[in-house]
């Protein structure tokens, strides 16, 4: 029917999103060469503080005369890396726990899914804050682990559902009658079927992960200054919001762009998987 009309638009959006994401990743990788200044260089704390965007400072400078563009570029490394590795941790945990729950069934399943329901019901920001309160501050590595450890619930539920239905498929039962051990079945018959839905979920999850990182960094318990992450840059700029709004605005735009790109890519993949959904 009308499915033909919107289709090219969708592909444009997908391509644009891929382009944005590729650009951000490149910017993050090449930050030390692209950035005109170091991320923590205070250029001239008297003469060059809070400069508005100009030909010399494309995105302006902050209250202590650091170049915002350089900080956004270096912040991309931290924010994207935390998002990507945090997602990886969540993926491994979620897939592992979902597999165990879905395959075992019974009491193990009920217990693990109870845990998942509880985890999904508690706001993640609070979970992260609580752990930070317990550990008394984390390095970036610890933050990645923590974000992953609070981000696997949804993935576990997804995997568990898929495994429950795959488990009763005849080819999995056939493998059992052949005497295949469980790891064999997981590797040859479950993971290949889980790969695509997991990729879709992970792409969307990475966006959520980046939003969360920004949030906890904004509260001062995530990535610690002077290291630049987009979240703590926004917090930095808060004090001078009235006089130098660009310090907070640009890192925020960077977050919106990345998360939006990831969302669009995820949606595009999902739509390709599920051809029923056209409108």
């Amino acid at each position: 029917m009308s499915a033909a009309a919107p289709a090219p638009r969708v592909r444009h959006a997908d391509r644009a999103a891929l382009g944005v994401l590729a650009g951000l990743v490149l910017a993050a990788l090449l930050a030390p060469w692209l950035a005109p200044h170091g991320p923590t260089d205070q250029l001239d704390i008297v003469g060059l503080a809070s400069q508005p965007p100009s030909a010399r400072f494309w995105l302006g400078t902050d209250a202590v005369s650091r170049d915002v563009l350089s900080r956004v570029l270096h912040g991309a490394r931290v924010s994207l890396a935390v998002g990507a590795f945090g997602t990886l941790v969540a993926l491994v945990l979620g897939a592992g726990i979902g597999l165990v729950a879905g395959w075992s069934g019974g009491r193990t399943d009920a217990l693990l899914m109870g845990l998942v329901d509880t985890g999904l019901a508690v706001p993640r920001v609070l979970l992260v804050l609580a752990v930070v309160a317990v550990t008394g501050g984390l390095g970036t590595g610890g933050l990645v682990l923590l974000l992953g450890a609070t981000g696997w619930f949804g993935i576990a539920r997804l995997v568990r559902g898929q495994v429950r239905s795959l488990r009763t498929r005849a080819f999995v039962e056939a493998a059992r009658t052949m005497g295949a051990p469980v790891p064999w079945i997981v590797r040859h018959h479950l993971l290949p079927h889980l790969a695509t839905p997991l990729l879709v979920a992970a792409t969307l999850g990475m966006g959520q992960m980046m939003l969360l990182e920004a949030g906890v960094s904004f509260l001062g318990v995530g990535v610690r200054p002077p290291a630049a992450s987009w979240g703590n840059m926004i917090a930095d700029g808060r004090a001078t919001l009235a006089t130098a709004p660009w310090v907070s605005l640009f890192p925020g735009l960077a977050i919106v762009g990345s998360v939006l790109a990831l969302t669009v890519i995820s949606e595009g993949m999902r739509r390709r998987l599920d051809p029923r959904e056209t409108a």
């Binding site: 493998a175 009658t177 040859h188």
Partner: protein
């Protein structure tokens, strides 16, 4: 001579919205090289019987002696090591093969699980297995959905025979196939059964098919119990 398979008092009931289904107090024996047909209406527990024997479900009660062992007592690695002696051919020809696995890998899977094939000899093994069920070696590179139902079922038979079982459990092996494919599959199955001296537990609802293939018939009633043999 002790029978290859001896089932005693086997009971397994499932609750369904339309009332309980499954088999009740089932006892029978099957000698090596013989074919036993299990017939009965749906809900009589034919498939349940097959699944219990294949150790896909636990029975509520009963004993199974197979190949001289207490079959239901085997667990873990011992069970996996013993499974090659009893293999299965499934009704759903497309469901029984992983849609993402090529024919060659599907055929090699049982051998690889038990470490019975090296990658060097794999192509030759696949070709031999395909030839045994009358299929072209070129099918090895195909995915299951690129095959006809009859071809898929013959791949399923070749895979089930790869581990050299003594008993083959065939759950409605041809009921999903058209007449031509059915005759081909049955011919292949019959020839291999005779050549290898296989015992077969043939589950079917088609009495004509059963009369041609089976040495003995076990008829289940709708209540899941054995019906006394009708005079023939």
């Amino acid at each position: 001579m002790t029978p290859l398979l001896a089932v005693e008092g086997l009971t397994k009931r499932h609750r369904t919205p339309r009332g309980p289904v499954g088999c009740v107090d089932l006892s029978f024996t099957l000698d090596a090289g013989r074919t036993l047909a299990v017939v009965g209406p749906s809900g009589a527990g034919k498939t349940t019987l097959a699944r219990v024997l294949l150790r896909l479900e636990r029975p509520d009660a009963g004993r199974v002696m197979f190949d001289g062992r207490d079959w239901l007592a085997l667990e873990g690695a011992a069970l996996r090591a013993a499974r090659p002696a009893m293999q299965a051919v499934f009704q759903d020809t497309s469901g029984a093969l992983d849609p993402r696995t090529r024919v060659a890998d599907a055929l090699l899977e049982p051998l690889r699980i038990h470490g019975r094939v090296t990658e060097g000899e794999a192509p030759a093994r696949v070709a031999a297995m395909l030839a045994e069920v009358g299929l072209d070696a070129a099918l090895a590179a195909r995915h299951p959905h690129e095959l006809s139902g009859g071809q898929r079922q013959r791949v399923g038979i070749a895979r089930a025979l790869a581990l050299g079982p003594r008993l083959l459990i065939c759950d409605e092996p041809v009921s999903a196939l058209d007449a031509v494919a059915r005759d081909q599959v049955l011919a292949v199955l019959g020839a291999l059964r005779r050549a290898r001296g296989l015992a077969v537990l043939l589950i079917a609802h088609d009495a004509a098919l059963v009369a041609r293939e089976a040495d003995a018939i076990l008829a289940l009633g709708p209540d899941g119990r054995v019906r006394p043999p009708a005079s023939r």
